[in-house]
Subunit: 297 residues, 2 copies
């Protein structure tokens, strides 16, 4: 049965820029909302609008039929879900837990297994679309887990996202997000190298974009990040250090599947260098820094 | 002054699949057309429609105010333009020579220099858009060379292309095409690796495309070549061996500019392997063969 604002208290853990927008949409849709965040001040705006503060993630779980998390790293996810006093320990029987963090597929499967043994359903449901998608409620949501749980919480996904696909069993959402990040990784490299060549060859790179931007070389990365690279605008849409975390997860999974991904390996190496040079807080388009022969670092 | 069907005999050298379509458009527009091709039988259809056969490239040049070439490799271009009895030697004073082969930017500059000294203008004008673009007259044409010559032959470009940009002086067209190929190279790798991961992880790759195909991972290569990879349809839209030639040119130019392009290096290495395994005549989407854990080679 699908969740409704009348029947269901929703918990939300992780009120970063993405989380605040997503939780706001759930409040807007009329659900009662319990919230927790590591630093409480980020909950202030939601509390003002009626959300109820809980002192621990476990307290959120104890008071909510559905709990959504979007937090930092796989280590954080493991602690919040499986740690003492965590979500799996304190969730109500029949509860549905949804992890929307981009995290490890293997960990997602492990959490689902432990939770299922206690009669708790878990969905892994990472997103793409960034701050803008979270704000407009148009995220792409990639879901793994049991079909019944997916169907039940579909109304909640609908207030946060526009392209919502159940990709398979536990871990399938995370695996799909990895496919997304792998496709991005070498494409950022492709765009950086193409524009660096244009500059080195003395071309007008904007004019080059007018020739190559709509054909076989076309990509979201070329269209959206290309002009930022050329402007030297390295402000973060998506942080280098977040992307690096995702590439690390993808590569670890690929290795465990004995799958060789040399493009991903090369891209990860370059992003490592970018971080070593102090640019972890830049947006991913800052990869261009490593190539641009005319840039001041 | 712009060329017109009344004033101008056009020469066309290189009647492969692309060349035949392009020369056909020029005939359709009413120009007198002189043609040469290494194997004469490929000229038959055009001759039937009124084109005049010439026995050598030099003969084409001696009888045409504008000569267009779209031939195999830089070595072929060098021979046809600079060889004894070639285009530069036999072209009329005031003639305009247009090389639409994807070839070396350095060679394009050298040919332009030699020709200019004899009062002959040369444009380098490689294209993208493939067989389909040539057939429909909607190629993207990237041009390098003198502005006056570009303006004069613009009507000819207009019958062959839809996106026609003068990118700069001699060699700029070829350099721009290299930007296009560099942007493609790592993106094909990105798409192959993403879909190989999807298959290895046991996902339904078509469903994965429905999640990742329209966001930050989106690309022409993902949309157009991705489904072919999944179908094991490796028939050539664009040949592996042609793409390998282009990557080799791009890498040589980058090296001469002291520009390090590790993504391109990695992609070229993989395409070399693909050729070594006997797949030179496949389309570029065959890169997926190297990754696909379930494929029969």
């Amino acid at each position: 049965m699908a969740v409704t604002p009348d029947s269901t208290a929703v918990g939300f853990i992780g009120l970063g820029i993405m989380g605040q927008s997503m939780a706001g949409h759930i409040l807007d849709a009329g659900y009662r909302l319990n919230v927790f965040n590591r630093s409480r001040e980020k909950a202030a705006a939601l509390i003002e609008r009626g959300a109820v503060w809980c002192d621990t993630p476990g307290d959120v779980a104890a008071n909510s039929a559905v709990v959504i998390t979007i937090i930092g790293t796989p280590a954080d996810v493991e602690e919040v879900y499986l740690g003492a006093g965590g979500l799996v320990q304190r969730a109500q029987p029949g509860a549905i837990l949804i992890d929307m963090t981009t995290s490890s597929p293997s960990l997602a499967r492990r959490i689902a297994e432990v939770a299922e043994a206690k009669g708790i359903a878990v969905l892994d449901a990472p997103v793409s679309g960034g701050d803008a998608g979270a704000k407009s409620g148009k995220l792409s949501i990639m879901v793994g887990g049991p079909e019944a749980a997916f169907a039940a919480v579909r109304p909640l996904f609908d207030v946060m996202g526009a392209n919502i696909v159940l990709q398979g069993g536990p871990g399938a959402g995370q695996h799909t997000k990895m496919c997304n990040q792998i496709a991005i990784a070498s494409t950022v490299m492709a765009v950086s190298e193409s524009l660096a060549y244009a500059k080195a060859a003395g071309l007008d790179p904007q004019r080059v974009l007018s020739s190559i931007g709509a054909g076989a070389a076309a990509s979201f990365q070329l269209t959206v990040l290309g002009p930022k690279m050329l402007d030297g605008d390295y402000r973060a849409g998506f942080y280098v250090h977040h992307f690096f975390k995702d590439m690390s997860i993808a590569l670890a999974e690929a290795e465990s599947m004995k799958l060789d991904l040399p493009g991903l390996v090369q891209a990860k190496r370059l992003f490592q260098k970018l971080i070593d040079e102090g640019h972890a807080q830049d947006g991913t388009q800052a990869l261009f820094r490593l190539y641009d022969p005319t840039a001041e670092q």
